[in-house]
Subunit: 221 residues, 2 copies
């Protein structure tokens, strides 16, 4: 029984890694589509989002099944409950990625990235992709150093997010309303993507270090 349970926990973790990998591919493609106005890549991202959603729902069902049949306690229980929360955050990361792709599709054939912000968004995209890859690795290895790295990169994203508003609200901003709306939404999606990663990283870190308190899903900005 105990052995079966450990196999099931391993299965939960593998599935989380698989979903994180899908999210990493999704944000990589979404930010490429966004930065290069690649509408067909954007459509692939949007069409594939249901795979992340379905994988998350299936993982949730597995986790609830484990709770029902194995009735875990103590740390094991925390691991299963955390898996439910992590899958919810991964699913939201997929949504953010899809939203970024949608912006690229809406504005096509126009460039979606407002002038004067190309470097900033290219940088935000690069960091979000790195964060997603580190998150996958963190879920695979539980190497908590990666959690710290993700937090540091989230700080960089927050700085870039603020710099977008500085630019858009500055006197030199020449963009029209469309550019302003796009920059505002795109920056928010990039920033929320990183926030969810931090939220997951905290949960993995708490589990790995044995801290009993699991932060709530939506903590943070």
């Amino acid at each position: 029984m105990r052995e079966v349970f450990q196999q099931e926990l391993a299965e939960v973790r593998e599935r989380l890694v698989t979903i994180a990998e899908l999210v990493a591919i999704s944000i990589d493609h979404a930010t490429q589509a966004f930065n290069n106005s690649d509408v067909s890549l954007a459509e692939t991202v949007i069409a594939d989002d249901h795979r992340i959603d379905e994988a998350a729902v299936n993982l949730d069902e597995l986790a609830i099944n484990i709770l029902a049949r194995q009735q875990p306690v103590a740390r094991d229980l925390r691991v299963v409950v955390s898996a439910l929360r992590i899958s919810a955050s991964l699913e939201r990361m997929g949504d953010m990625s899809s939203h970024i792709a949608q912006l690229a599709r809406y504005r096509f054939p126009d460039k979606v990235v407002p002038k004067g912000l190309r470097t900033t968004f290219s940088e935000m995209g690069r960091i979000d992709v790195e964060i997603a890859n580190k998150l996958t690795e963190l879920l695979r290895t539980e190497d908590v150093n990666l959690a710290d790295e993700i937090r540091n990169q989230d700080d960089e994203i927050d700085d870039l997010h603020l710099s977008v508003f500085d630019k858009v609200l500055g006197e030199t901003w020449k963009g029209g309303a469309v550019d302003t709306v796009d920059a505002t939404l795109a920056s928010r999606y990039h920033e929320r993507f990183a926030d969810h990663a931090v939220s997951i990283a905290k949960k993995v870190q708490y589990l790995a270090t044995g801290d009993w308190v699991v932060p709530s899903v939506g903590a943070g900005n």
Copy 2:
């Protein structure tokens, strides 16, 4: 044992209602602050958000404790797991409310609501408050008719959300970049608030009707 368990489930439900009440007060005050540029009311909303966060964390701890001690199965297990997800969504609704209040505070003493959009935002605010009150009632009574009403009102919010973009991107829009940013973010926060309510309403509805599938937390836009 069974009786204790039923008492504990009742306690979980009462606490969800209490958090929903806090959220309803928060969105009522936030939208008032936003529409009337009431900075002191905005500050109250922002300062009180931690109460919602703490109540959600405490509820989560209770739910995890119940899982560990009572080891519920079948529908009882679904109820406890759903409570965890509902508390996460309520916590996010509090965040959205706080974000709306922050917009009011940032722009003070300027009016935060862009000209030409006052009626729209006043309507969005009114509907978000109604949704929050209905959600509280739904959690209290499990009257699934309320879930349908919440969904219908969310459709109204979605229409208003789209109308904000139509206005901001239309030829008659006279607002500057600040107004455009504010309208974009404010509209998104109002819309997300309602989305979370729908997500909760679906969970309550599924539980009440005995459907086994629990939709994932972040489902929706």
